[in-house]
Structure formats: C-alpha cells, structure tokens
C-alpha cells in the first residue's frame, strides 16, 4: 500500500488511544468491523421502516464503533445520520446512508490490506512531519 498517497481511513493515533497497546489493535479492529457491519445492517432496516429512534440508536453505535477503530470519517458520517434520526428526519437519513455505506466500504478495503497497520502508522508520521514543517 502506498501510504504517501492513500486517504486517511484509519487514524492511527485515535486507534492507539482507544486500544492502548498495539497487540490489541487487530483484535479490536476485527471486533469493531463485525459491530459496524451489524450496526449498518440495522441502520438500513430502521431507515426502511422509518423508525427514527432506531436510526439514531444504530447511527450512534456506528459512530462509536468508528471512533473505537480510528475510522474517523465513518464516525463523522454516522454522526450526521444520528442527528437526522434525532430530528426524526428520515428523508435526510436515507440520503446520508449511501455516504456511510461508501465510507464503510473504504474502511473494509483499507483493512483488508496485509500492511494496513504499517500504512496507518506511516500516514500518522507523515502528518506529524507536515505539521512540524508548517510551524
């Protein structure tokens, strides 16, 4: 994987904050992916049923799982969906679902690479270097 050009899908600093130890990262990511996949399925079902309380609930869960995995883009998009659920705005929720599904797809693709940990770590280092250079 070319870590210099890839978009930030997994924020290494965030995932390390949550996991604490690198040895735990893979276990947590594996479990997080399972949780996220299930939340996404339930979310789509809730939107189809126009059940705004469940939309907010499962979007909130997806936001949380995203944060745990360091998938900050997924988490942000899920948060927008959670807000739509809170506001009982099913139309907006339905229009945001595609974005969330696309982001989840990006996350699974990124994580399917055998060297994703190295790539995420390298992206983090590149960002830190860039920040230092701009100071």
């Amino acid at each position: 994987m070319d870590e210099s050009t890839t978009e930030k899908i997994i924020d290494w600093a965030t995932v390390m904050n949550v996991c604490g130890y690198e040895s735990l990262v893979e276990t947590i990511i594996k479990s997080g992916l399972k949780d996220a996949r299930q939340a996404l399925k339930l979310l789509a079902k809730a939107i189809k049923a126009a059940n705004s309380a469940d939309v907010a609930l499962y979007a909130h869960r997806l936001k949380g799982v995203g944060m745990t995995m360091g998938a900050t883009g997924l988490s942000e998009k899920a948060y927008r969906l959670e807000c739509a659920g809170d506001e009982k705005d099913i139309e907006t929720a339905a229009s945001l679902l595609g974005d969330v599904e696309d982001e989840f797809e990006k996350v699974t693709t990124f994580l399917s690479e055998s060297d994703w940990i190295e790539a995420a770590r390298q992206q983090q280092e590149n960002r830190q270097t860039e920040q230092l250079e701009t100071k």
Binding site: T14, N17, V18, C19, G20, L24, T27, I28, S31, G32, K34, D35, A56, L57, H60, R61, K63, G64, V65, M67, T68, M69
Partner: protein, 143 residues
C-alpha cells in the same frame, strides 16, 4: 499495590468491552461485563447480593433497556441504589450530562477516552466520591 476494585462494564459495543476488560484487569480491577441494560440489571443484582460490586461503567445508547432506564431501575432498588455509576458515553451535550446526573449518575466520562488512563480515572473519581460522602456525613452529624 492498589486494592482490587470490582467493576461492572455495561456497553453494547463488543470492542469497548474487550478493551476495558483487558485494561482494567491489567490495572488490578475485577471486571464483570454486560452487553445491555437488561443483562446489566440482572448482573448488578447478583453481584450486589454477594457484595461484589463497587462501581458501574455505563453506556447510554443501547438497544432494549438503555443506560438511563438501567440507571433509574438501579437507583430505585434498595440493594443497588448506593452503587456508584459512571456514565461512559459518546453523548457529550451539556443537556445530556445534566439529564444523566438528574437520574442518579455519579460521574461522567465521555468517549473517546484514552484507555491507558481509565484505571486511574476510575480510582480518582471513586476517591472523590468517597470524600464527598464523608464530608456530607460530617455535616449531617454537626446538624
């Protein structure tokens, strides 16, 4: 070496339960888990009967019985009303925090949190709570 503190973690996110179980065990806590409020209530009652529960870490948004419903049930039961409950949730609006305190939460930790700090955070919060309670006892005795 610090004393082992028994903690019940109630969260529907498996990854969070795993991370907390791992870290808190390493920090010397005795960790019990529940994946939702309904199971949490059963477990809290059982542990309270055995005198084996000192603090609960509670997520808010869970299917079935959510964190606030759990909290209300817990605080209306003589056996469990005095168990400290620390909310552990991504809900971070002031209104949400106030609502949880109104129902009986003893403290509030917002997600995401740094897992390596969680053991110390819990110990500090429990110490603060104990100090607050002992001050209240002194005031009551003076009055």
């Amino acid at each position: 070496m610090s004393r082992r503190i028994s903690v019940l973690v109630i969260d529907d996110e498996k990854a969070i339960r795993k991370v907390l179980k791992n870290e808190l065990t390493l920090c010397g806590f005795e960790v019990y888990l529940a994946r939702n409020g309904r199971i949490g209530i059963k477990r809290a009652n059982k542990l309270a009967k055995k005198g084996k529960i000192e603090v609960i870490l509670l997520d808010w948004m869970m299917p079935g019985m959510d964190g606030l419903k759990f909290l209300s049930k817990l605080k209306h039961n003589n056996m469990t009303e005095n168990i400290p409950v620390f909310m552990l949730t991504a809900k971070s609006k002031i209104a949400d925090i106030d609502r949880a305190y109104d129902i009986g939460a003893d403290d509030y930790i917002t997600k995401p949190f740094k897992v390596i700090q969680i053991g110390n955070i819990i110990r500090r919060k429990l110490q603060k709570l104990a100090e607050k309670k002992s001050k209240q006892m002194v005031v009551m005795n003076i009055n």
